[in-house]
Amino acid sequence: MQNNVRILFFASLREAVGFSEMHFPLTEPCSAKELQIAITKLDKLDKADIANRDLLVAINQQLASWDSQVTPGDEIAFFPPVTGG
């Protein structure tokens, strides 16, 4: 049984955070929004101001809504609106 999630950051958010990847302990499913709020409180993410950024979330490499369920073992990515094309 997995007891954490892999969290990825990209682009301007990655630069603000200062690293691109971390693991976060998670034993029970929660929503993407709840996970975002939980990591916002971490000291090492204090300067990134995650709560006040316009962000998108992907769960297991699929764009997701903020009320989508995150399960232990999932790969979660937070990133700013995309600008490809």
Binding site: F10, R14, Q61, Q62, A77, P80, P81, V82, T83, G85
Partner: protein
Amino acid sequence: MELSNPNCQLNCIVQFDDFDIATEYAKLQLTPHCGAVVLFSGLVRQQFDGCLQGLELEHYPGMTELAMLKIAKQASLKFEIGAITAIHRVGILLPHDQIVLVGVAAPHRKDAFAACEFMMDFLKNEVPIWKKSHFYHQGSSQSAWVETKQSDVNAKDRWHGKITR
């Protein structure tokens, strides 16, 4: 996984290298039952009063390919088309460099044009790629992440609920 039209060939690639339009066109030209090919290429546009040095494109390896394929699958169901090629470059690109190619082969031009526009409108909004501009400003080299344009969001949103055929 999303459904797709099994009779439509989907070819979605993310790469650092440049692509050759003639090569991609030659492949699309051989698509069975097709009488039209539409190709779109997106280029690095000079900006900052001619002071753009280049663009740096970052992406989410793994998800980028999946997201491109998801859009191509939707297009294969929405339009009467026989093949889609989508190639997106990442890494450092210079002014006038090719960034993206979308090619569509279809029995008739209307669906080929429409599918090509559909692909680009969704590529700009739903594929995890980000551009950073590097430019000269007042004698020093600077950089800034490219902001999302509302016109790109609107271009995607116009497809919602739209019946094309």
